[in-house]
Chain length 384, copies 2
């Protein structure tokens, strides 16, 4: 068993230790770190708005569910490192910690939720396989997780999904069923497969097993940092990562604020949080293609309870920030990953003197077509 | 003081510990690692060829010089992490360890040698400043190292050097003096500055202080790995990194082979090693712009003694490998960094079942102009 090894020095690269998940059993703390209140569940849940979240809350995962998920997925999932950047610290006058899920298997955090969901199925359910509709990282996550568990995965993808994404799903062993490129066709095609085969639907975010899996990244984050940060940030699309993160963070460090970053061009989560009800997004036009979905009932409940604020950024700022991360940190992040940092660099939250941990959600980018090389008229409207 | 923390697990990301250099003092080993023969100097130096390297050898740095360099530069230089990649391990049937100098300050290993050279000057020398001629990473290294030490740096750069490189030098505080874009003009311009100001010339590789500084990366590498690898690889241009690495490796682990990767289009080091004398390169046309220089007397001597083999790769394979590293490891490496791995992927050295550590030398790339996006006719000739 390795000991935790964290230094908050001036290095451009702060590294989390590669603790085995064994250290999360038992008393649930790492020998080399000060013992923290791992079992303390947040009691400061707030229900400030009209929407009645009680029913959804009943099925939200708890910190125990997230810990169980961490054990369930540990053998196949990477404990991703935490990096720091002198440049961004100086730009913002803050101490930033980047949890690098772009280094995760399939290149994004989604394998955490996908594998947890599939490992949670009964043997009987497993024998009938799983189905999902996605053209993004979740499709790859379900394909790989199914391959790991030796079960069949059917992925419903729109006919116009990029060939590179179809290839990635097939490489991991998923079977693709194509449908017309609209939400109704996706849902009905998936339902048809379920009716015919008895396969289990694994939704990409509005599922407690998915949320619990996505929450394991923040569990590692808080375990690997010597001191819980003042703020933890993730991007928000459907809200799976944000929900899981918020449950982990508010359970382990109630004083830490959870803040999300969202493209201004797809700010449905921000508007939903402000209105106290889910306001679905309509045809959002953002380069952050992982963040185009609307919140679900579960994710809305978790976010309403735990998230302090959602801050937005322009399309141009997503592109500029993504490029800056590549140039300054020498790591590849996808547009969605850059959103929280972009919102900070726009000055939309005062973080001076604060410690801020940001989850870089993924790094899957088509290297032949980089956003800063596209003519501006081809970029989403708000980018100019 | 942190303890070493290395695991050779299936993770996509193997992380070196962030040991402070304090641990390299005294008995010179890390408490958490098995004690190794840190003080054993290689005795298997070979002088197999006609070239008399004895005189040059007399001024080559020793492992003690490299340890002293490590202490000298530690406060400002990053201890870079070691990453692994499941994908490349499977492709080659080997265990690969990538020492990421692309995460180093200025984005390349060159700051190690530059800072060591400048910190080694007398106060009197420092007061007269330093001069170098370079249009690459060494120019940035000398500029930053001089700024750190509060001394004046003059960088001789050809008039046709890219604006982005000039800007980087100026950002670090270096003063640029332009010259005609040829070797004679570079040398005479630098000499003129030396004559006028008494500044000290800091050559980019043929200088024992530079070689000692570059050797500190391999010192960390061997310190952070649980077991010394079977093979250590670097790219070779002028040979500063390879020389320093070879001295560290053969001193600390005589059984470890040191192998270099070189572009076939600029294979002067390979030909020099085979001929037993320095064969200068003439107008090499390679995308690996850090590897266009010829060996110097000192680097030739170190390489002749310590390096087992130099293997080459085509231009297309440099580009393909660089892109693969970006896609699979989600990190940014420059063409020169990709050369050793490219030569392995071409099958030019059988590494099956072996452990191979490769130093990724740097990550400075113009993100607006990626090599795989250029029309083939604009690439160096051997790439098609």
């Amino acid at each position: 068993m390795s000991q935790a090894n964290c230094r908050d020095d001036e290095s451009g690269v702060k590294l989390a230790c590669l603790l085995s998940y064994d250290t999360l059993t038992g008393t649930g703390h790492c020998a080399a770190l000060p013992r923290r209140a791992f079992d303390q569940i947040s009691t400061n849940r707030v229900f400030p708005r009209e929407f009645n979240v009680n029913q959804a809350t009943a099925t939200l995962p708890t910190i125990e569910d997230i810990r169980a998920a961490a054990k369930r997925i540990a053998p196949e999932v990477h404990r991703t490192p935490i990096l720091t950047s002198r440049y961004f610290n100086e730009r913002l006058g803050a101490s930033l910690f980047f949890k690098c899920e772009n280094f995760q298997r399939i290149g994004a955090f989604k394998i955490r939720g996908g594998l947890n969901a599939i490992r949670s199925l009964s043997d009987e359910e497993k024998s009938r396989g799983v189905v999902t509709h996605s053209s993004g990282n979740h499709a790859q996550a379900i394909s790989l997780a199914s391959a790991i568990c030796g079960i069949k995965a059917t992925i419903v993808m729109p006919t116009n999904a990029p060939q590179v994404k179809k290839n990635a799903v097939r490489d991991y062993g998923g079977e693709i069923v194509e449908c017309e490129p609209n939400e109704a066709a996706r849902v009905s095609t998936a339902q048809k497969i379920i009716d015919e085969t008895g396969a289990t639907l694994v939704h990409s975010y509005n599922d407690p097993r998915i949320i619990a899996g996505q929450g394991t990244s923040a569990l590692e984050l808080l375990d690997d940092l010597e001191t819980p940060p003042d703020i933890v940030m993730t991007p928000v699309g459907g809200g799976g990562l944000l929900s899981g993160t918020s449950i982990s963070v508010k359970s382990l460090s109630p004083r830490t604020m959870v803040v999300a970053g969202e493209p201004a061009a797809a700010d449905d989560a921000k508007r939903s949080l402000e209105a106290g009800k889910i306001i679905p997004v309509e045809n959002p036009n953002t380069i952050a293609d992982g963040l185009k979905t609307s919140l679900g009932t579960l994710t809305f409940a978790a976010i309403s309870q735990n998230v302090s604020q959602i801050i937005t950024c322009t399309e141009q700022s997503i592109i500029d920030t993504m490029k800056l991360v590549w140039e300054r940190m020498k790591i590849i992040v996808e547009p969605s990953s850059a959103v929280p940092l972009a919102a900070l660099l726009e000055g939309n939250l005062d973080v001076r003197g604060k410690s801020v941990a940001i989850i870089f959600s993924g790094g899957n980018v088509d290297l032949n077509e980089l956003p800063w090389q596209k003519p501006k008229q081809l970029l989403p409207a708000s980018s100019t």
